[in-house]
């Protein structure tokens, strides 16, 4: 266990830890910083990884409210994007580290408070992400047939709280409000050939529902124009090439754009060029033939801002949306959509609002900015709360891909390491770490799920998946997960 590096305390710390609890206390108490991370998604794991790598004595415990780890890597990344989930391998290596422990099925703020964590650990890092979504704030938003993209994604990815969503997929036309990668994900899952979905880790239940879906056409609707789309080129390319589908792009939206983007940075330029090409150029032979035989369609609608979801005759079901037609003021990323006064109604029975995730406050004692939806912080140090840090979406807002969160988490870990070095975090106060949390949880009847417990659940999911030709069949009931590890 790294004995070649000759750190005495670490060297005899490891074998002693395997002996009695008392010896364990002896070896770990006051030897190094005790740090805990709240949340086991990419932010939590990357923060832990960086801390463990750059501090030879630090112990990092990762808490997670669900029994299973990995957050949005498991529940957010689309089923047909398995490569993105490869980060699970590096997270697993981190969890296997001698100085790292994972405790699932522990809800911070309920099973143990942040204050109690602060008594047990030198530093507490909040990395619990964004579990909610922004709301449209328009009439009819709660009609049947209207869902947040977040809940829809949670549904097909097996997030326990969304397993009973039962989205109504009986409408031919679906509108996704928003033009980010999540919007493209839901459109793609709605329109993908079943043969493709069948071989992914999409849940059995949602696959069955999608198999009966009547959805043939998905519009991605944005308030602004083509130059403001938030999705990225790889995902757009994937959509354009989706078998069995054809794109519906209005040439009027793209004429002349080629000139406008001449001096724009390369990423935006290439993304726009791809849209322009697909909208204006004659397709090649192969593409033309695919589009001709396509049974499903997807398209982009611009400069439309939702005003009201319109009810059907029964007053309960959504039948369409009334949209304000907008024009742009300003240009580029900061362009603003301004209503023109014109209004348009679009018919559809399925509306998915994909306008952003949103963090929630964990505990009334932790500073939280409800307007920005983040914990106020400076370089990951929570303002006005020494010993408290944050990383990931709850720190910077719910945008960005895994690399964004990775860099951000390394940044926060760097702040913790600096504070350890300069004495801002006082190591002379010895902390018990999980030893004190363990007794708190026990007294409250909470049984943490360890990483090797997760590996049992993981093995069960993989085994079930194998029977169905899938990488895994996700267990969606937390009780079933707990029963598997007999808690």
């Amino acid at each position: 266990m790294g004995s070649s590096r000759g750190h005495i305390c670490w060297k005899w710390g490891s074998p002693l830890r395997r002996l009695t609890g008392f010896s364990r206390l002896l070896s770990t108490a006051a030897l190094g910083p005790q740090i805990c991370v709240v949340g086991s998604g990419p932010a939590g794991f990357y923060t832990a990884q960086h801390l463990l790598k750059h501090h030879r004595l630090a112990r990092v415990d990762i808490y997670e409210k669900l029994p299973v780890p990995f957050g949005l890597v498991r529940f957010g990344v689309a089923p047909d994007h398995p490569e993105v989930k490869n980060v699970i391998n590096t997270f697993t290596q981190t969890a296997h580290s001698d100085r790292c422990a994972y405790y699932g099925n522990v809800t911070i703020g309920k099973d143990v408070t942040v204050k109690e964590l602060q008594r047990a650990y030198h530093a507490v890092v909040l990395s619990y992400g964004a579990e909610d979504n922004r709301i449209l704030g328009i009439p009819g938003e709660n009609l049947l047939g209207v869902y947040s993209a977040r809940a829809f994604v949670g549904w097909y990815n097996g997030l326990p709280e969304n397993r009973d969503l039962k989205p109504d997929l009986s409408s031919e036309t679906a509108m996704v409000l928003g033009q980010g990668n999540v919007a493209l994900d839901v459109a793609r899952v709605l329109l993908s050939p079943l043969d493709v979905l069948r071989k992914t880790d999409i849940t059995e239940g949602s696959l069955a529902a999608i198999a009966c879906s009547k959805v043939k056409r998905v519009w991605l609707v944005g308030r602004r124009g083509p130059l403001q789309v938030a999705f990225t080129i790889k995902e757009l390319r994937e959509m354009i090439n989706l078998p069995g589908t054809r794109p519906l792009l209005d040439p009027a939206d793209f004429t002349g754009l080629g000139d406008v983007i001449k001096d724009v940075p390369r990423p935006r330029k290439r993304l726009t060029e791809l849209m322009v090409k697909s909208a204006l150029e004659k397709p090649g032979e192969k593409e033309a033939s695919r589009w001709a035989s396509a049974t499903k369609e997807w398209g982009l609608k611009f400069r439309r801002s939702p005003l009201e979801v319109l009810p059907a005759a029964d007053g309960k079901q959504a039948r369409g949306i009334r949209m304000a037609v907008t024009r742009l003021e300003g240009s580029g990323e900061s362009a603003r959509a301004v209503p023109t006064g014109e209004v348009e109604e679009l018919e559809c029975g399925l509306i998915l609002s994909s306008i952003g995730y949103r963090s929630l406050p964990l505990d009334s004692l932790i500073p939280f900015d409800p307007k920005l939806g983040i914990i106020p912080n400076s370089l990951g140090r929570v303002q006005g709360a020494p010993g408290l840090y944050c990383s990931g979406w709850v720190k910077r807002g719910p945008t960005g891909v895994i690399i964004t969160t990775m860099n951000d988490s390394f940044d926060t870990a760097q702040s913790v390491l600096e504070d350890l070095q300069t004495g801002v975090l006082n190591l002379s106060n010895s902390k018990e770490g999980f030893e004190s949390v363990r007794s708190i949880l026990h007294s409250r009847g909470v049984h943490p799920v360890t990483f090797s417990d997760w590996e049992k659940i993981d093995a069960a999911e993989v085994a079930r998946g194998k029977l169905a030709g899938k990488p895994r069949e996700k267990i969606v009931d937390p009780q079933e997960m707990l029963q598997l590890v007999s808690h």
Binding site: G2, S4, K53, N86, R237, L372, T399, I402, F410, D411
Partner: protein, 183 residues
Amino acid sequence: MMARCAPRLIRPLLNGLNLGKVQSFQCLRIAEHSQAPASLQPERSFGSTHRLHDVPRDTGSADRVTVHFINRDGERLTATAKEGESLLEVVVNQNLGIDGFGACEGTLACSTCHLIFEEDVFQKLDAITDEELDMLDLAYGLTDTSRLGCQVCVKKAMDGVTVQVPVEVADMRRELEVGKQSK
């Protein structure tokens, strides 16, 4: 999307993993590469279990190419690579201490293996594909001589080359971090 070089994708073997064996293998690695600075951490070891099968027998110096990586903190990490290995594989196999390198394990699903090349070396690299450009477009600190390490294979002509690990924008803008949100 696989790395275009011949060597296989890196996949740690999680089932039936004998951790004891892995750990001692890592120590062996540290002893072998004494030129590597003491700050190299063997824990950064995803995929190294797979490398148990790929420990290079003594192939002699004929097939080895020296590559220098300038890390984000300016530290120079030197590795000897086999011709045909991707630069991502070099970093992983040699356990170079570059934080967060190669998150998606060479499948063109991230940009964390982003490297900056010298102009003349850059010009001689194999042509870049749309798929690589798509991911490179999302990389921090993108330059005109940037490539993804998982797509660049080591060639004999690259012996002695120096590549730069980009400083992340987040590092440079530490002053501007507070409460910034785009929407």
